[in-house]
């Protein structure tokens, strides 16, 4: 059974009324949509694959559930077969050669199956002899699903909510400031001192709207993403302020590049207005990658929060108790921060400061297995699929013998918590910022 059917999705009434996804009007629209995605890299990704099969076993989903449709090439071929049909000579004269696919309801189902079984971890890209980016190819699949009105509605809804929040921020500023004030006690419990304003007066535990602050910290909606970070930055005597917006970018998950930029642009504009030197992104892999690598050059530097912590440790701006954690402690490299963001060593430097018993997962860094929660799957629920498709991840963690697993990504954390429970791994799952905040000493 394909994912779409299993998830109880039916083709929308509009699609069915218009003759299904195969209707000529919709097909023409989807073809145009496809064409908008054909940049030079994408054309090379679609034309270069030799179907050598080297990537097949790279995917954690395939490694856990060995079906071709769950391999990188299996997923990409769905898009490639549409490409051959509508954009290649072969599709016109000898479609059977490439087993092309037309835009119809079955193809839409296959696109959904491919796109939303891929977490966009890009582990396959490490192994591909050509470096084909399956996440980008799945971007086409997601765009086509949007065009056919068959995307996961929860992701569209969350994405729209983010956009709306950006439009109504003026009305909600006071309520947000009040909510931040309610968290002060929790922050002070971790680190009782607060930074001072330029005039010497004490700052709020979570400063908000501070013009001229050095760092703009972009959190998530959950208080844990604010409290720990606030304690750490206050301990480091950082000049910082919190963003009005949450970092998460649901539009990136659903493949809506226009909304993705709109959501990220709210933060860019805020950072410019405040005149900050750095924007520190909360422990959220996708938010970091979007802001750091997808928004073009900015007048400020973009860092992942873990980089900021590592800098504080290195410069001696924070001191940490390394005796709080019991047993071996390991680290899960979030794909969007590590393999796709280049942050490998900083989290390890931080962990070595909080425990003498840091152990690596095998494989790790660029070769690390994805947790299985990315690409919007956490937001979509998908517990059954996430657990089955991440069996290899659970085995990897169990083999490490660690008692604590840390990570620096919200999605990874949620997925690791679920895996821990589902597979009875008996671990503590922690955010890096959480263990650092708890270990702060004066």
């Amino acid at each position: 059974m394909d994912l779409m059917t299993r998830r109880g999705f039916a083709l929308s009434a509009d699609t069915v009324a218009s003759g299904g996804a195969g209707s000529s009007e919709l097909s023409a629209r989807l073809k145009v949509l496809f064409e908008t995605k054909l940049n030079a890299a994408m054309r090379m990704y679609l034309d270069t694959c030799a179907r050598c099969g080297i990537c097949v076993e790279s995917c954690h989903v395939y490694a856990s559930m060995p079906e071709t449709r769950y391999s990188a090439v299996g997923r990409a071929e769905v898009v490639r077969k549409i490409f051959r049909r509508y954009f290649k000579v072969q599709g016109r004269f000898a479609p059977w050669l490439g087993e092309v696919l037309e835009f119809d309801d079955d193809t839409v189902r296959r696109l959904y199956d491919a796109a939303y079984s891929c977490t966009g971890c890009r582990r396959c890209m490490v192994h591909c002899p050509f470096g084909i980016d399956t996440q980008q190819i799945m971007g086409i699949a997601k765009a086509l699903l949007l065009g056919a009105d068959q995307e996961p509605k929860i992701l569209s809804m969350l994405s729209d909510m983010s956009v709306t929040k950006g439009e109504t921020i003026v009305d909600t500023r006071d309520a947000f400031a009040q909510a931040l004030g309610n968290l002060e006690g929790e922050v002070l419990a971790l680190w009782p001192k607060v930074t001072k304003r330029a005039d010497g007066s004490p700052n709020a535990a979570i400063p908000y709207g501070q013009q001229g602050a050095r760092v703009l910290y972009v959190a998530l909606s959950g208080s844990h993403s604010m409290v720990n970070a606030a304690a750490i930055m206050n301990a480091a005597r950082e000049s910082w302020t919190i963003s009005s917006f949450e970092a998460v970018n649901f539009a990136a998950f659903v493949g809506d590049s226009a909304k993705m930029k709109l959501i990220a642009a709210r933060i860019v504009n805020e950072a410019k207005a405040l005149g900050v030197a750095e924007v520190a992104i909360v422990e959220c892999g996708t938010a970091y990658r979007v802001m750091r690598h997808m928004m073009g050059p900015q007048p400020f530097k973009v860092v992942a929060f873990v980089e900021l912590i590592a800098r504080y440790v290195k410069e001696g701006r924070i001191r940490l108790d390394d005796s709080l954690l019991e047993g071996d402690v390991t680290y899960h490299d979030p794909c969007q921060i590590a393999r796709n963001g280049g942050i490998y060593e900083e989290p390890r430097e931080v962990l070595r400061a909080v425990t003498p018993r840091f152990v690596e997962l095998t494989p790790n860094r660029a070769e690390n297995w994805c947790c299985g929660g990315g690409g919007g799957l956490i937001s979509m629920g998908e517990m059954d699929f996430r657990m089955k498709s991440s069996k290899v991840k659970a085995e990897q963690i169990a083999a490490s013998g660690a008692k604590v697993i840390t990570t620096a990504c919200e999605n990874c954390h949620s997925q690791l918590v679920d895996l821990n429970e589902h597979y009875g791994l008996g671990l503590k799952v922690e955010f890096l910022s959480a263990i650092v905040a708890k270990a702060l000493i004066s």
């Binding site: 940049n39 030079a40 090379m44 990704y45 072969q90 490490v126 002899p129 073009g296 860094r365």
Partner: protein, 278 residues
């Protein structure tokens, strides 16, 4: 030219690899072919002379067109690199494209066959270039093509292996009919090429069609003489040459529309993976 004449020509040609033999064949060829033989002779000539120009021109134009379409497309809107970032993106991409370290790590046997195959491709390319009388990459007067047939084996044996691999899971499940047809096209082109470079020396008298004969044919192509190479390419091997040319021309013509494009895109696509710019 009737079958008897060809047979006589073959016997004469096999008996002496010399200018004398050539003249004997020329004499045999001078008998005007009729009927089906005439049609076949014309088809053969079309394949080995104008067909070559057509295929080459078509492949070049189509290749340039495909590359223009690809490289005139907008660049990717953001960085698509993976980390760790190499010191030199181009250097790393060169290593990826020509050394295929990813394949070596995941499937060393496949890597060996791939390396042998691709080196062999370079070998047969230069082997063909060396046939031109204006070029001399090996010692003057050598009777063999470069590699004396070894490069032919270097491409042929791996193709057998590639076909076998494609019939095995999980590669079988990701293969399309086009993948098999392309491999078969290459296989038969190479096998017939082996027959030219190597198999046609398996006679008591050595080469039936000598390197010098091929040189005359190549020279004719280079100078657009449009003459019938049957005059100096002897014996029944000529039909295999015709088939070799036919399949090679088909390969050339489909090349720009198939995954063989990776020959031209492997380096730039690897640069995309390696280039860190944000």
């Amino acid at each position: 030219m009737g079958p008897e004449a060809v047979s006589a020509a073959t016997e004469v040609a096999a008996g002496a690899v010399s200018a004398g033999a050539v003249s004997a064949v020329s004499a045999a060829s001078s008998l005007p072919p009729t009927g089906l033989a005439l049609v076949l002779a014309k088809v053969s000539w079309f394949i080995v002379v104008p067909g070559f120009y057509i295929a080459l021109a078509f492949a070049l134009v189509a290749l340039v067109w495909r590359l223009v379409v690809i490289f005139r497309a907008p660049p990717p809107p953001f960085q698509l690199a993976i980390y760790p970032a190499p010191r030199s993106a181009f250097g790393a991409a060169m290593r990826d494209a020509f050394g295929m370290p990813q394949v070596r790590r995941k499937d060393p046997v496949f890597w060996v066959f791939l390396m042998v195959f691709h080196i062999g491709l370079f070998g047969i390319f230069f082997g063909h270039v060396d046939i031109l009388p204006q070029v001399s990459l090996v010692r003057e007067g050598s009777r063999d093509m470069i590699g004396a047939g070894v490069f032919g084996l270097m491409v042929t044996v791996p193709v057998f292996w590639f076909i076998g691999r494609r019939f095995k899971s999980p590669v079988r499940e990701i293969s399309t009919p086009g993948d098999y047809i392309l491999l078969l096209l290459l296989l038969f082109t190479f096998l017939l090429g082996d027959l030219m470079s190597w198999g046609n020396s398996w006679t008591a008298q050595g080469f039936v069609m000598t390197k010098a004969d091929f040189a005359t044919y190549f020279d004719g192509l280079l100078k657009f003489k449009f003459e019938d190479p049957r005059v100096y390419l002897h014996g029944t091997h000529y039909h295999f040459l015709t088939l070799h040319l036919l399949l090679a021309e088909a390969t050339l013509m489909v090349l720009p529309f198939t995954k063989v494009m990776h020959a031209f895109l492997s380096l730039p696509v690897n640069v995309v993976r390696r280039r860190v710019w944000t």
